[in-house]
Amino acid sequence: MTTPIIDLRGISKSYAGIRALEGVDFAAQRGSVHAILGENGAGKSTLIKIISGVVQPDAGEMRLKGQPVRFSTPSAATAQGVVCMFQELSLIPDLSVADNISIAAPPRRFGLIDRKAQLSRAAELLARVRCEDVDPRTLVRDLSLSRRQMVEIAKALGRGPQVLILDEATSALTAQDVQTVYDLLGKLTGEGVTTLFISHRMHEVEALCDRLSVFRNGRHIETFAKGERTDAEIVRLMIGRDVTAKYPPKPAPVVRPPVLKAEGLEWESALKGVSLSLGKGEILGVGGLDGQGQKELLLALFGVLKGVRGKVELGGRGLPSSPVDAKTGQPRVALIPEDRKTEGLMLPMSIADNLVTAAFDRITRSGVINPARLDAAVQDGIARLQIKVGSVTDAVRTLSGGNQQKVVIAKWLMTEPDIILMNDPTRGIDVGTKQEIFRMMRDLADGGKSILFYSSDYAELIGCADRVIVLYDGRVVRELEGSTITEEAIVGASLNIGTAA
């Protein structure tokens, strides 16, 4: 066996106490197209961030062509021929395509950027990815998402990669572009370039890759050649985790009158016709890999997005026109947002102030805050979710992640919502608090509230939801109910492959 071009040994990485990678050994050979597979949070992103120098490992060693290396910045990695195309685009929107392609090392004359040379270099690289239709002088912000992704690929190519990392590089591409990328990868492989390919599209992995590595819970589970495993086996490798939380028992399925019905919801390129129906007292899980339109679905139902098309029945009205409309109309809607630090809480403000921000009408009398009511509301909120606080006047920032999340939930329960939209409410919080939140969700549902529950952790959907819809590419691809809600079924649907339920 020849020396692998990339060789990781015992790599570990934690973020704020949460382990993202643990003792990972991973190697990729020269001239191979190597797929990296895993669920949300399996550690794929952290792995490539370490390889490309965006973050540094806490422990372990990395070798490039047998030589130990340590990349402290992305530019250090690029200088050694390790080039990453990031999922969150690395293009500068206000600069031109040509500027972006040669961003860090442009051609120069007399020390200054040579715009002519830069233009011709951009044109040449764009031609290699068959994007002759993109004028290199256009600003990136004026390009469509699929064109930007192709520009990103051209930019990566221009850096003369020996190791090319493609992180969901094809997610926004048209079928024709995907074919171009296939051809390009084939050519690069012939030239000895190694590609690490992260994708959730199994058919692409099938078509492109010669080796596959599966990650799970921050560990490297197995690496094998293409064809050694069936799809079903791969799915099983990706799951197989320890049960981390206990869930309250689910009630027997009953027929529930719908409180929210949506048909063919469309918005920009994120939602492509989502239909769903949420019953009274039901917990409806929303599954799928990150970024398939789940967040946009919740935002749309809460009135945050403009220009949503489709039919919505919500009580006697349609889609809320704004968050204010959503929380005050009938039935009342609440959204537990994705990022509690920016959308859920005002971190420097007190716990008490945060608790009442969504329900000022409950504590005011003719527009003035009534101290007695304020106090009662705050105590009520704290008791309801058993939030552990020293003093309610402390800044909410001083609380642990779990208690912060409880404040967000308590804040929205104070509006007495009928429908609660939850966007990954257990992200980054401890198991104990998770269990309390699941318990509370079930109690709310039993009390007649309806919950639309998006979680990136499939086990939570299986444990909590009465029904689950799985989104893929802005559409509902599978609806599961009762005993058909299994991890195999959800993972299979998430990858949009026909694993038997």
Binding site: S90, L91, I92, A105, L112, R137, K306, G307
Partner: protein, 343 residues
């Protein structure tokens, strides 16, 4: 050409507004389109134009520099001591004045980059320090600036040649076509062309735009972020020093005027916005801000030739600024995810 306008809408709008204001002003002025009016206008506009250029660089990377006016004042006070004596001494003085402002800017940059302070608060403090130093240098207005130099640099090219007896005292055939151009304008254009335009074409300059546009993307693209931030504040210090130098030449004195320093800082922000540079960073440039500064000054010139109550000047300036800025806000209507309005 079409693309150029589409990509620089703010700048194009500012140019148009400037052209309209300028033409109307000269048509209304009893001695419009004359060299005398031209020289006077230029003299009163150059300092604010330099300060606007200074402000532009930090704004492009989504920062504000509240010390630009104070650094100008400090530089002017330094100049009031050094711009005198032999030609060699004066040359040294000019270099020293420019170095003072540049060093001050570099200090701002070091504080922002390595002290990890917000630019707005760091420069608020250093601005006060600059004024403090200026007051120590010049408790009372005063100083001695070489009269010949002051005269030569604040009048027309002909006066310049005449003062120093070059090009047959300004009568040589090859200087005739330029004889009526105000020297301050040439200085402004010269600094812009020799400092800003080349700087914009370096990787450091481009990084400043990239930071304002998408700092995360700039980082993963391997751009020199710290170097660019240092350069931005250093350059702001340099342009502020240019303004101070000019102010000293124009007034022949150094004056640690706190009110004036503050007014220049605030006007510089107005000029930057008027020129079409986005306060959110990434779009615009120093040339655009020069146009913005000229617009700002032109509006005040109108009060001299029209019979308007001078007391109304701030009010009208405010209205014009508000209108000009509103024109740039239409973009928010096309945002489809309302959450993005708050990011």
């Amino acid at each position: 050409m079409g693309r150029l306008i589409a990509q620089n809408r703010g700048f194009a709008g500012a140019l148009l507004l400037f052209a309209a204001l300028f033409l109307t002003y000269n048509l209304l002025h009893p001695r419009g389109f004359s060299s005398a009016v031209f020289v006077q206008n230029a003299n009163e506009s150059v300092a604010i134009a330099f300060v606007a250029m200074a402000q532009t660089v930090p704004v492009l990377m989504r920062g504000l520099d509240l010390s630009v006016g104070a650094v100008m004042t400090l530089s002017a006070c330094v100049a009031s001591y050094l711009l005198t004596g032999s030609a060699l001494e004066i040359s040294f003085g000019i270099v020293a004045v420019l170095a003072t402002g540049t060093a001050f800017g570099l200090m701002n940059g070091l504080i922002v980059v390595y002290g990890r302070l917000q630019p707005i608060i760091a420069t608020l403090a250093t601005g006060a320090i600059a004024i403090g130093l200026a007051l120590l240098l010049r408790p009372q207005p005063g100083g001695d600036v070489d009269g010949d130099l002051g005269w030569a640099l604040t009048n027309t090219v002909w006066d310049f040649a005449d003062t120093y007896g070059i090009a047959d005292g300004g009568e040589a055939w090859w200087i005739r076509p330029f004889a009526d151009i105000p020297v301050p304008l040439i200085l402004l254009v010269g600094v812009a062309a020799l400092v800003w335009l080349p700087f914009k074409r370096t990787v450091t300059g481009r990084t400043i735009y990239a930071i304002g546009s998408a700092e995360g993307a700039a980082y993963v693209s391997g751009l020199p972020i710290n170097r660019a931030k240092l350069a931005a504040f250093t350059l702001a210090g340099f342009f502020s020093a240019c303004a101070g130098l000019y102010l000293a030449l124009q007034t022949s004195t150094g004056n640690a005027d706190t009110v004036q320093a503050g007014a220049y800082t605030l006007n510089s922000i107005a000029a930057v916005v008027l020129g079409g540079t986005a306060l959110a960073g990434g779009i615009g440039g120093a040339i655009a801000s020069v146009i913005g500064a000229l617009i700002l000054r032109l509006i005040s010139f109108y009060f001299r030739i029209l019979d308007i109550e001078p007391l109304l000047q701030p009010l009208i300036e405010g209205l014009v600024l508000l209108l000009a800025v509103s024109a740039g806000a239409w973009r928010t209507f096309s945002v489809k995810n309302r959450l993005e309005l708050f990011r």
